[in-house]
């Protein structure tokens, strides 16, 4: 098997080959490092990685190989490499959150998910690009330049987790961690033809994920197959005493659900409000095809209404910035990160904090801090934050009512395919609309999965299909997702990424 074939395998296949002794983890990690070196850098590079963790990844791989050779019992994914969204803190690698304000900052502690990745002995390839503090739907708001979509380098890879999705789509990593506050795992998955899951709120510890909106944020897996996401969620999930909002449920049974292979008799609900008007024709077509396939596999497809979903985006853009304005207050240059002194006038603490935040934060971050500060101000709180919380309750009720009728819900993940870099940068509202179908899950804390549904007729770009399940029923997503994936792949004759254009090496370009 060539290195090129190797990196196109799924994580489960890589794990099997490692277990069988057909490959070593060092070979596997080196193949990915070579791929990163070939396609990630330079003017036309994917730019999925902000930091490549070469030495440590190879050292962990060598350690796994030695342990395996010694007959030690290892975790199923031991030796399989992974990329980490740069919103998650890591010892030994910088964590920037995609912001200038954290440039060069080294965390003195590991996020809980990182401790679990280390415990499973998965080599970390590096940290992936994102919209600054995970605020955006295109990765264009990164202070370190946008990530490019491997399907078309002039298009966005989605956001905020464009780096993780693009890394997986470009075979720079088989697995990645993302974070999803309003769709930051699922929307990039949709536009890059990859799989991503936002687990139930509390299913995965948030400790060490730099907070944007605490009540909405969730860490989750990014991969090329449904089974791979299930395997990764089993690694990172479970109770964490350091996260008061973490659930006590064990993170088990997800891969088994993905391997079940049938949906016969399951009731699947189309959300009336999350398709049709505002959704690209090619997206609608692929969505309808998926429904037909599921129906053909014995699932019952019904339509349900979630009348309050229409208010979700508006409520989200009050709750999220409110929490973000508070969570980002700590970035003031006093204790860590970049400090910028005012160029004139006295050096008071307020002025240093002000200058640091003015220079360190990008426009989208400032926009949300200002919005949130306003929404929480005395006299406005009830009208904005208070009302938004009421909408949130209504959305939760809509989900509860829908899940009384069906086992899972289904919708397109994103109303549109990947748009051109720069196209929506000056139109925040158009940008925000990308998350219209993903936001309700965050507002209610329910899990959501995206998987590739094919390519849109009009532009040949990937379309995402979203599945939603009741809280703590993440397994249902994996069960239905894996079945739909296999039906679609049978139709395509292989994974959707086989249809993606080959990426030219940018290594030479960089060397110049």
């Amino acid at each position: 098997m060539t290195a090129n074939e190797l990196i196109r395998s799924s994580a489960a296949e890589m794990a099997a080959k490692l277990a069988a002794g057909e490959i070593t983890s060092v070979e596997l990690v080196q193949a990915h490092l070579d791929r990163i070196a070939a396609v990630d850098h330079g003017e036309r590079g994917v730019n999925a990685f902000l930091y490549v963790n070469t030495e440590e990844a190879l050292a962990v791989a060598a350690d796994v190989d030695a342990r395996r050779a010694a007959g030690e019992e290892l975790h199923e994914l031991a030796g399989v490499p992974i990329a980490i969204k740069d919103l998650i803190v890591t010892k030994g690698q910088p964590t920037t959150a995609g912001s200038k304000i954290l440039e060069g900052w080294m965390s003195p502690y590991d996020a809980t998910v990182i401790k679990k990745i280390r415990a499973a002995r998965m080599p970390m390839l590096g940290k992936t690009n994102l919209d600054e503090f995970a605020m955006g739907s295109s990765t264009e708001h990164s202070a370190y330049g946008p990530t490019r979509n491997p399907w078309d380098l002039d298009r966005i890879p989605g956001g905020s987790g464009g780096g993780s999705a693009a890394a997986v789509a470009a075979f720079e990593a088989p697995l990645a961690l993302g974070t999803d506050t309003g769709g930051s795992i699922r929307q990039p998955g949709a536009v890059t033809g990859t799989v991503g899951v936002k687990p139930t709120y509390g299913a995965v510890s948030r400790y060490g994920a730099i907070a944007m909106a605490s009540s909405l944020d969730q860490i989750g897996p990014v991969s090329r197959t449904v089974l791979d996401s299930a395997l990764l969620q089993e690694v990172i999930g479970g109770h964490d005493p350091q996260d008061s909002t973490s659930l006590t449920d064990a993170s088990t049974g997800l891969a088994a659900a993905a391997r079940l292979g049938n949906v016969k008799g399951m009731k699947i609900g189309i959300i009336k409000e999350l398709h049709g008007e505002g959704y690209q024709t090619g997206v609608e077509n692929r969505f309808n095809e998926s429904l037909e396939l599921l129906r053909g596999a014995g699932a019952e497809i019904v339509e349900v209404s979630c009348p309050n979903f229409g208010y979700a985006l508006g409520a989200y853009y009050l709750i999220m910035p409110s929490e973000a304005s508070s969570n980002l207050a700590k970035f003031d240059g006093v204790r860590f990160g970049a400090r910028t002194l005012p160029t004139e006038g006295p050096l008071t603490i307020e002025r240093v904090m002000g200058a640091t935040r003015a220079a360190g934060f990008g426009d989208e971050v400032k926009r949300r801090i200002i919005l949130g500060t306003y929404a929480l101000s005395a006299g406005y709180y009830d009208a904005y934050y208070g009302s938004a919380q009421k909408v949130r309750t209504l959305i939760q009720r809509d989900f509860a009512a829908a899940f009384e009728q069906v086992d899972v819900l289904i919708s397109p993940t994103s109303p549109v395919t990947a748009f051109k870099l720069g196209e929506k940068l000056d139109d925040p509202l158009a940008m925000y609309l990308n998350d219209v179908a993903t936001i309700p899950a965050n507002m209610a804390g329910v899990p959501g999965l995206t998987l590739p549904g094919g390519l849109a007729d009009e532009d040949g770009l990937p379309v995402g299909i979203q599945l939603l399940a009741p809280a703590r029923e993440d397994a249902r997503l994996y069960r239905v997702g894996a079945v739909l994936e296999s039906l679609l792949e049978a139709q395509w004759g292989g994974p959707i990424l086989d249809q993606a254009p080959a990426l030219a090496s940018t290594a030479a370009e960089e060397a110049n």
Partner: protein, 502 residues
Amino acid sequence: MHVDTILSFDEAMEKYDPVLGFEVHVELNTKTKMFSSAPNAFGDAPNTNVNEVCLGLPGVLPVVNKKAVESSILIGLALNCKIAPHSTFARKQYFYPDTPKNFQTSQYDDPICYDGWIDIELEDGTVFHVEIERAHMEEDAGKLTHMGGSTGRIQGADFSLVDYNRSGVPLVEIVTKTIEGAGSRAPELAKAYVAAIREIVKNLGVSEAKMEHGNVRCDANVSLRPHGREKFGTRTETKNVNSLRAVENAVKFEIQRHAAVLDSGVAITQETRHWHEDTKSTTSGRPKSDADDYRYFPEPDLVPIVTTPEWVEELRSRLPEPPAERRKRLQADWGYTDLEFRDVVNAGLMDEIEETVAAGASAAAARKWWMGEIARRAKLADVDPAALGVSPAVVVEIEKLIASGAINDKLARKVLDGVLEGEGTPAEVVAKRGLAVVSDDGALQTAIDEALAAQPDVAEKIRGGKVQAVGAIVGGVMKVTRGQADAGRVRELILKTLGVEG
């Protein structure tokens, strides 16, 4: 520096009626902090009792300290509060480097304890019923030290040092409802109220309760209104008044200052005030309006605190003897008169006397020392007697030295001086200073013979039966021995020398 004109207290009271309110912050003595596993310890090297959570580093999350919740409920129960079955935390947001997250995690509209009361007894036995609005949980801020300025305040400082050891220490803030009707007793009530809170939290064992360490800190709100008017005047809030005497003095000063300002026809500025122990006065802090916008919102990283009736009742069963009942018991045990006991309570020396008695002293001796020599020295040093540095063990040891005849009362006072000057234990002071009573009869006899020879007429009177004249000879002997003789023994020897029956 601007010096406020003040009215005499009596004049202020003639014209105005004071309204009070107190916010007392109690630092809990839990092993770890409110929301992190970092140690909760006082006095260590700066920034050593910290971890990523109480430093507010990116990505961290808080976890509530269960022990701190229990301590808070205990305080609430001791203050006759209701305990909320469901209460939440909120973020109080402001940019200042003593709070590493630039918000303080506190409780806002649903405190864990609410609607309580406490009866406060003043020195003359008058009882004031003080209503408690709430007692809520929050985290302490770090400690800032502003360097280079003349005032110690941030304005004018060259730079500031930050110590986050205190950042995240669990606090319970006890807030009274407005207290009306205290009249001229307002300063006394202020002192007695804070003393009562200190006593309760110490008795509960939930706080070290040392005001000098900032374990108990009082913000005192004062406003005045002309007699007969119902509407409250504008209030000021004097911050962090850190001793019982200071609480009394600060309230008194603010009443006098408000009265002078109002008399001159000027409105009181709603603001915080800083208490200065050296000048016994307050100075202006920052303006404080009811519309201060802290952008409170529910803390999304914490789940609500749910208290079950079983849990609350289990905690109630742990409540120790209430201080008022304890006082009744101790007075009976010690056999003090009402007046004696009230003096002890008002001096804040009940614990010290209890410990001294427990260590082996008689109740009378413990009172004699604490209320006498120790209190007198404390007053001279302008500190609370308990803070002077005399331990119960010292009192017991001095008493034993007296009982054994090694020293007399006069020498004992010198021993106390030596202990306070750091010369060691009482026995060590006796040895170092050579304070032992002269008990060598030979040496005493020589002194007596000399004294008798010097005053032959007195000697003659004694021989003639005027035994009371012996005092003059005793005095002479004590003078020669510089007080280090046992006066009783000297008297005995004089009478023996002169062949007279005592």
